[in-house]
Symmetry: C2
Amino acid sequence: MSGTAAAAVSEVGTPGNMGDVRRSNLALVLGKVVQSAAGVHLTRAQIAAGTGLTKASVSSIVLDLLDAGIIREVGLSRQGERGRPGVGLELNPSRGVMGMEINVDYISAGVTRLSGDLVVHEIQERDNRDSSDAAVMSALAELTAGVRGAAAAKDVEVLGGGLAVPGLVEAGSSMVTVAPNLGWVNTKLDVNRLLPGVPLGVSLFNEANAAALAELAHGPQELRDFLFVSGEVGVGGGLVIGSELFTGPEGNAGEVGHIVVDPAGTPCSCGGTGCLETIAGQDAIFAAAGIEAKARSRSESMSDLLAALAAGSPSALLAVQRAGASLGVAVASTSRVVNVRAVVLGGHFAVLDQWLRGPLLESLAKYAPGLLSPEDVSASTVGEAGALLGAAGSVVRALVEAPYRLQA
Amino acid sequence: MSGTAAAAVSEVGTPGNMGDVRRSNLALVLGKVVQSAAGVHLTRAQIAAGTGLTKASVSSIVLDLLDAGIIREVGLSRQGERGRPGVGLELNPSRGVMGMEINVDYISAGVTRLSGDLVVHEIQERDNRDSSDAAVMSALAELTAGVRGAAAAKDVEVLGGGLAVPGLVEAGSSMVTVAPNLGWVNTKLDVNRLLPGVPLGVSLFNEANAAALAELAHGPQELRDFLFVSGEVGVGGGLVIGSELFTGPEGNAGEVGHIVVDPAGTPCSCGGTGCLETIAGQDAIFAAAGIEAKARSRSESMSDLLAALAAGSPSALLAVQRAGASLGVAVASTSRVVNVRAVVLGGHFAVLDQWLRGPLLESLAKYAPGLLSPEDVSASTVGEAGALLGAAGSVVRALVEAPYRLQA
DNA sequence: CTATATAGTTCAAGCTATAAACTAAGTCGC
DNA sequence: GCGACTTAGTTTATAGCTTGAACTATATAG
């Protein structure tokens, strides 16, 4: 978990009162508990020293957090230290959140504890292309009910959930503006139906954004500003700046799939010309490599591509090489515009890392010399469950930043 | 002035206390005073109604602001309204800030009141290319001393200042990382020397960023998210998102001059290839138009270009057309990455607006259809003094968001 | 068993916002 | 010209929160 607890006050533009101070410090203390390394349990005194709050304030705040069931006390084993031993604090392991994902050919659900570790995880193959959104949601509701039961059996109560979908979303209104590969347009999802009765409700996320947040939470500590590039049928992206998802004024920032990488290129499904997606999207790579895109299972086509690459197929190698070079152009421009200096490759870009990497780095050296070095380009560490973990992690993070939502 | 007062609390990660609430509400109240339209003076009661604070709190806060000399009371003339008349409040017109600019062929300084209107303004032609930074700073210090005196004669006391330079800056350490057209590299400026004894000190800004902020403050109200593209010898940019300058993790976001617009293009001074600057920078346009770039005065070359365009010179028209088209590619990609939907053209792009506009819009329609419509592309309204006004405005804005810095 | 050291709690004090009562200063109606 | 009314701003009592100091609790060292 990354959990940078912010001294958040009430909405900008509204008066502040003493309750805001309490809420801010509540988040500050909880943030310390979250930050503590796995297995290390901070005491009230250590939190006081670490935050600058007095012991009195910390005690009072910890009491609130215990009452809310967010944290719990845990005995501490010390050896040979003088003085009264402190009482360790940790996130309540019997509270968790549900991460869910709807993708083109599967739905999945899993429960993580507040600490981020996965307790239950189920994937169900399902062709969602020709289903109505209602049918997909029904299937997912059934899946989550089972997963929720399995978590309960392991003594983990689900407080809320996050759903990731491969499309642009309006988080506030649970609206999927457009999900090309699902065929959804302005589709309003009744997300709360997936987890009836949970105190924190269910939030909606873009898949690439969720995967980026998973990378933030589960990847290396020092990774706080990066561009996550997700290669699927389309090419998505998530921009993390200062450990925060940067969504831009309309919520769709980081959509690198439609950066212009070849002004003289071919038309894109978005109506534009020469977009990255027309060269580095899965369909584009398969087509250029001479591999039949199998509607039934993309993973089959991907296996074919990997086999062709391993066999040294010139067309396959060229296709991937061209994708890598174009990705480099897009990343170079992005790093200029938003001034990030790290890139994480996800989806098929992670799978194809060993072939993509060379051309990508060459391209970066040519178009943005000195900005990104080889060690700034990494492949995603979270893998397939990324979107799910990110969606769940986001919900946890929102709770950590506003723990008072669970009080009373 | 835009002045969106934020409910800002102390640094993230530090404990909040009641003083933070005070500071937050201080900024909230002052923000209301700033927002009020020119000539309209809000009363305490109106501020209470507008912010949600009680009259008692507003009275107490207003007293602090009066004591600090940031605002003052002003008699209100009403006609035929019942009840006790309120006392109007306005920004203290006898307090101001200094905006300063160092550019390639001039230095300038001006003082604005806290309300944003320019009281004194002086430009001094000076070729800074071959001067040491110390010599330039000495010349500027002399200029500011005179301007400060002139402002004092008009009863405006200078509280602080902002200096804009055409290069990348580290605001915190007053360091100019690189200013290619001045020949400066890692140059530390003793900015406080420019305004000895002012309570708020002097801050350093990138020129394009400052111009963008001036556009935010002095341009249309609804302009809150936009890309400002500044055409000078180089091509700079400033990104405003949610009425805030977005600088990215390393402070240099919005540098659209080095977006790749032609992967098969020519080398750029940055070491890259096919950057926007190689096609749309002043030198590139002059060269393509067959106009001699005069070292002594760029404005002369610009006059020649305008004359050539007016005379219908094919090479000049083609040069500008190509610049516009490339600008379109860069803007299209930027709007994808950061999801902004408005562009403001500054510098020579504003001057060449009538010739650039067509190719730019065509290019946008081709590469980012539906994202930006013609009315989303505008030319800068602030003109030459933009950088200076923006630097000054930033200082004012920082004060409005943290007025307690002037207390005691 | 006493001295010491550290953890955590209790309690008075200070600051801030709130709500209600109160004072101030106008207009309206007769 | 005087009282009723209306709105602005101040005063006062109250509650919430952090702070700092005093105090209690619980361990180790000798």
